[in-house]
């Protein structure tokens, strides 16, 4: 097991900079998930750690030793690819044995290692089959088995569940988590599925355009996003975003005269650069009421999405449409009159220019 550190890593493909001044320390035994949109550089970062991609500048350390100039074979790291990870011309057993043959492990030891991994991953009955005869889930189980069998320093996974259907993904997700807890292997997992990230990660790394946006626990990135990108990227339905006008203790939405009352000290602490402020508030922090009460502002519902366990209600406030999460059946129909308030403790303010969270984020 190992600690992995990336220091000032830069990666260019031609003139295109894909990793920008990348700083990250992954602790021994930690499960880190890299989350980001397509093209964000997640795969590139992972491949750089594995040694499949050379880096343009910076250092990569495994257990404190610089490895950026070492070949992939010498880094003792395992990699699970999204697809095409099993050799079609070998049986499952041969596939799992393949990394062990590289280190010339003796046959008896090899057999027991294969047996152990096959039992952990419940693929023992498939050992003598060819990969083409396996289901998608079993293929990825075998791929993970092949990665784990030689007990590598760290396990890197690039969207290993990306090609599976939803049900299987959920099941495999649980298995990966169980496996991680049992083995405690340092793991880096790439995905663009935030539910996967939230449920697996000790820490989530959010990447956008090759820049690290935020590193933190799932709660951290959800509750304290450092900037507008993270705020919008994490959470479903997405956070409500609105340009606001702050006057004393009042936060006014465009076209809405009344505005919301906030604690004046909170608002005065915002490090406003003078470029204006954007309010971000998650649907569960938008509070609805059937009757007029103090601090509530009048609004009209425009759309209702009943989702069974809860409803997502769109309300129009001045020129802004906000989405609120309510218990199911709370509002009967569109065009109904409701009163809206915001939970000030869950409100975020972002500078319009820097897009940073003015309440400090994480």
């Amino acid at each position: 097991m190992a600690q992995i550190e990336m220091r000032n890593v830069q990666k260019f493909f031609g003139a295109n900079q894909v990793l920008k001044d990348f700083h990250l320390t992954i602790e021994d035994g930690e499960f880190v998930v890299m989350l980001g949109q397509s093209g964000g550089g997640k795969t590139t970062a992972l491949r750089a750690i594995a040694g499949l991609e050379t880096i343009t500048d910076g250092k990569i350390l495994i257990n404190g030793k610089e490895v950026q100039d070492k070949k992939a074979a010498d880094r003792d790291i395992a990699f699970v690819f999204q697809s095409f990870s099993l050799y079609p011309h070998m049986t499952v057993r041969e596939n799992i044995a393949f990394p062990l043959r590289a280190v010339r492990m003796d046959a008896a030891e090899r057999d027991s290692a294969i047996k152990e991994v096959a039992e952990t991953l419940q693929i023992a009955q498939h050992l003598d089959r060819k990969p083409s005869a396996l289901s998608g889930g079993d293929m990825q189980r075998v791929a993970i088995g092949r990665a784990l069998v030689r007990r590598p320093q760290a396990l890197l996974m690039d969207e290993p569940l990306g090609v599976l259907d939803t049900e299987l993904r959920e099941q495999m997700r649980a298995e990966i988590k169980r496996l991680h807890i049992a083995r405690g292997s340092t793991s880096v997992y790439v995905t663009h599925d935030q539910i996967e990230a939230m449920s697996l990660a000790d820490r989530i790394v959010i990447l956008h355009d090759g820049v690290l946006q935020q590193v933190g626990s799932p709660d951290d990135v959800y509750l304290h996003p450092t900037n507008l990108f993270v705020a919008k990227f994490v959470g479903s339905p997405v956070m409500n975003i609105a340009d606001v006008h702050i006057e004393g203790s009042r936060v006014a939405l465009p076209g809405d005269g009344a505005g919301f009352q906030f604690d004046e000290t909170t608002l005065s602490k915002l490090q406003n650069t003078g470029d204006g402020v954007t309010l971000g508030i998650r649907p569960e922090a938008v509070l609805l009421s059937q009757k007029k009460s103090k601090g509530y502002v009048e609004a009209v519902t425009t759309n209702i999405e009943p989702l069974g366990s809860h409803d997502i209600v769109d309300v129009r406030l001045g020129d802004t449409v906000m989405r609120a999460r309510t218990e199911s059946g709370f509002v009967r129909g569109e065009g109904a009159q409701v009163w809206v308030n915001l939970d000030p403790s869950q409100a975020h303010f972002f500078d319009n220019k820097t897009e940073l969270n003015l309440r400090g984020g994480a």
Partner: protein
Amino acid sequence: MAGVRTPRETWTNRTAIFAVFVALVIMLTPIYWIAATAFKPRNLATTIPPTVAFTPEVSPFVKLFTKRSQLREQPTQEEYDAAPWWEKMVFDGGEKVVRNRKTGEVRSSGYGDRFKNSLIVSIISTLVAVSMGTLTAYGFSRFKVKGEDDWLFFILSTRMLPPVVVAIPMFLMYRVVGLNDTHMGLIILYTAFNLSFAVWIMKGFIDEIPKEYEEAALVDGYTRMQAFFKVVLPEALTGMAATAVLCFITAWNEYAFALIMTNRNAQTAPPYIPSQVGSGLPDWTVIAAGTLLFLIPVAIFTFLLRNHLLRGMSFGAIRK
């Protein structure tokens, strides 16, 4: 779908079978003709209309492998009785087998040697072209090569001239370096000729092999060379088989260079067979026998690799 066919499908199916049948007849008729002629007595070989019913003989094959001359006088009864069965056939055809004056050994016609030359040259040049082509294609497919497209075009451009155009300069150059009429000379020539083709076809196949396969091997502790042999090669075998068949056929059938570059020592079968047409009155049965034998290696080679070949031919087409 399975089992149940609409009338329209049945009709389409029958048409397809009929079309295949017609194509087969057109393609197989010349082969039947050659096969039939190879077993005919000489006097039936050129009758008009062609003789269909005849008693097959192996005498054309006996004549194919031996050197013969016209009989001036009939052999004596003792001579005839003492002769082995195959020599009797030659006597019956009004010819006699030429023997070495001192040892009495039967002189061969040279067809066997030419056939052997064809095998040596075609097999070796195919092996070399396919292996070099695969390695080159791998390089182009997996590494950043500066001016990759230009290089590939340059490689292909060697196929743009008809080979005869360069035959004379090649002949002169070969004479200087002493490669005329040697196996090595023809092997180099055929390898060079097939290489561009092998590179292009193999590049197509290797591009289709996901690079994750090798990368997985690289992180698992293998060198790139090991990864190539353990992972890429097994996956590329189908393509290599298809390429090998095509290279082999090209080398096996090559006529122009073989005619110009070789005469005795390294001559292959293609220039030899028609040379027999020109010597006196052609014996078409012998020429047919030589041609028929000449077809066999390609047929065997293709048959052995047929599964690979079918998959290989459709591989790129389906996935691209």
